[in-house]
Amino acid sequence: MEKFYTTPRSETNRKAKNRYFSTLCLLVCGLVVLTLITLLTSIFITGGSWLSWEFLFAGHLEDNPEESGIWQAIIGSIAMCVLCALCALPIGIGTAIFLEEFQPRNKILRALHWLVQLNINNLAGVPSIVYGILGVTAFVYMFSYFPSITPNDPPYCEVGAEYRYQLKTLGGDFVNFPCPDKNDKEFRITEPLEAVNSQGSPFVLNVVDTRSQAPKNDPVLLKQTVVKGKRPSAYAVKSFFYFHLPFGKTVLSSGLTLGLVILPIVIIASQEALRAVPASLREAALGMGATKWEAVREVVLPAATPGFMTGAILAMSRAVGEAAPVLAVMGGVLVTTNGLTNLMAKTPVLPVTIYKWAGDENVGFEHLAAAAIIVLLVLLLVMNSIAILIRSRYEKMLG
């Protein structure tokens, strides 16, 4: 019997092309997977053996990679993350509600609505280093409205700091007393005054005119005696709510700057969360006589909360990995002496630490950087798992 249909050459070619392309696609995708595997393995090989409890709980040491660690950086990263979430979440969710739930009839408001929506996506495209510059001008120097902070001058306007003078008495004891005027740089001891010794007990400072008049036979009194005209050194005792203007290169400035960086991400994620709430819920609330805001407050927001949380965690995980704005605002801090005691302190964070270590000439720090990357990736993994968990529950809930 004669064949009903013979495959023309062109069709074989076309089918072959399809197969080739399919193979090419598979190869390219394999390359992508391979890239990720290479990336992760190279980091684990470089840094894996340097991970230890000592590494987690120690601080950075100059020229000593073996004993350096990242405890301050972990604390700093978490604090920064919480700070930026605190400032970005309310504004971000507010903007999302404005964009999704209120369709204004007013002409001006409608133009605003459109403009804000267009602007959100543009903000998401602004490089993070530009936000860093904005943060430096707006938060660190506050548009040069206040005199800028220098190491010699105390900040222009501050709360929660107590200035004290410290000096060494003839007996070798370090005593301190309150500073009457923090801007007086020429202060000298002229008359007896109330002071506190190194054990913390108060006494009256004994002032003698010259060193030869010192009560050499009485060691207790000698410890409380100073020569007239001695210049004490000033220092500040800062409470946990210590605060000054302008913010300067501090954790607060960088937290606020990171808040600006993640704001568009929060807004976009919150918008999606609001869109996922079924319209029937809103309509039911409105049908029962709720006003627009009542419907949003009582019905829509509770239903969208898990979505907000997912978005918030994803935005925070972006903030944890962001180095450029922090580097711009706070500088490349690797270690601080006092740690994070108030909002006006500096702190190292994980990405900046990784950046500084990776650029260090000491080869040991290369391994430390890889180890710190592993810690950072684990932190991100935990945050993302929480987000995925919340999302899967939420999807079940909304059906």
Partner: protein, 322 residues
């Protein structure tokens, strides 16, 4: 009278309800609305703030009496030698711009084709099994902080991938470009896949019905139909690559060069800004401080324009299919 009995009926009904004052409700509604509008205005204010700030401070750079640079020299001179102690400093931004575009070019050469192919594969070809591997891979890749990719570029790509092949410097444009390409890849893939998926199935079925192979359906029907979405994905990736900071700060070096050679170090606009910030001597109102704003203004003009165009293309395209 019907009217009266109706009113009586209403009164009888209302007696049982404790009605809230509607005046209060109106006030609180207006208050909330104002607050929400305020939030929206805040996000606008950030953009306006960035624009005003960058351009007003750049004026400080051009008005500096010691330097006497005019904007034209700034944009056209091909040497950037700020911070060097010898010779007169020259402020031509071209080396920084060329550095940015060298790295961006390499990144685009990598991320656009690979990203598009991955997107096509995910949307048109992939079996659920391949998808379940590829999709998480891309998501993990998207979540990796940029500083990690910078580390990968100097510690792996340069010594093990590039230096065996040619005379690459320790800091070079190629390694930074490859790392930025890896960074942009998930972005291109996810946006392009969205665009491909939103092409209605009827178009595909029509083409299959005419006897087209899968490749023909993809290349001749689906990709052209999703073209605006794909272009917008490319533009967003481009703007992301131009603005990328940490990778180039680590891997591209801090020498502004004006060449086409990918083996040489090449400082970018973002790299210069980070380096300036890190110098301890940075004071407000110094030349270094102002030059940073001028560079940032140029950077912002590039990224903002590209994002805006991408956005407008995407908005148009959404109108077509929704």
């Amino acid at each position: 009278m019907a009217g009266k009995s109706e009113r009586d009926f209403e009164q009888a009904l209302l007696r049982n309800y404790d009605l809230k004052s509607s005046a209060m409700g109106k006030v609180s509604e207006a208050l909330v609305m104002t607050l929400l509008v305020g939030c929206g205005v805040f996000s606008l204010a950030i953009t306006v703030g960035i624009i005003v700030l960058l351009f007003s401070q750049s004026i400080g750079f051009f008005n500096n009496a010691e330097l006497a640079i005019d904007p034209w020299t700034f944009l056209s001179d091909n040497r950037w030698s700020i911070g060097q102690t010898q010779g007169t400093p020259r402020y031509g931004i071209l080396p920084l711009v060329s550095g940015t575009f060298r790295i961006t070019g390499i990144a685009m050469l990598i991320s656009l084709p690979i990203g598009l192919i991955c997107a096509i594969y995910l949307s048109e070809y992939a079996s659920p099994r391949v998808r379940s591997v590829l999709k998480p891979t891309l998501e993990i890749l998207a979540g990796i902080p940029t500083v990690v990719l910078g580390f990968f570029a100097i510690k792996f790509i340069t010594p093990y991938l590039l230096q065996p092949v040619g005379e690459f410097k320790t800091f070079n444009a190629a390694s930074a470009g490859i790392a930025v390409g890896i960074l942009c890849l998930p972005l291109v893939t996810s946006l392009a896949e969205d665009a491909l998926r939103s092409v209605p199935n009827a178009l595909r079925e029509g083409a299959y019905g005419l006897g087209a192979t899968r490749l023909e359906v993809t290349l001749k029907v689906v990709v052209p139909a999703a073209l605006s979405g794909i272009i917008s994905a490319f533009l967003l990736a481009l703007s992301r690559a131009i603005g990328e900071t940490m990778v180039v700060a680590l891997a591209a070096g801090s020498t502004p060069t004006f060449t086409m050679d990918p083996r040489q170090p090449s400082q970018t606009m973002t790299g210069f800004i980070v380096e300036t910030f890190q110098s301890e001597s940075l004071e407000p109102d110094s030349i270094g401080y102002y030059s940073m704003y001028a560079v940032a203004a140029v950077l912002f003009v590039f990224t903002f324009t590209i994002t805006l165009i991408g956005q407008l293309i995407r908005m148009r395209y959404q109108e077509v299919y929704n």
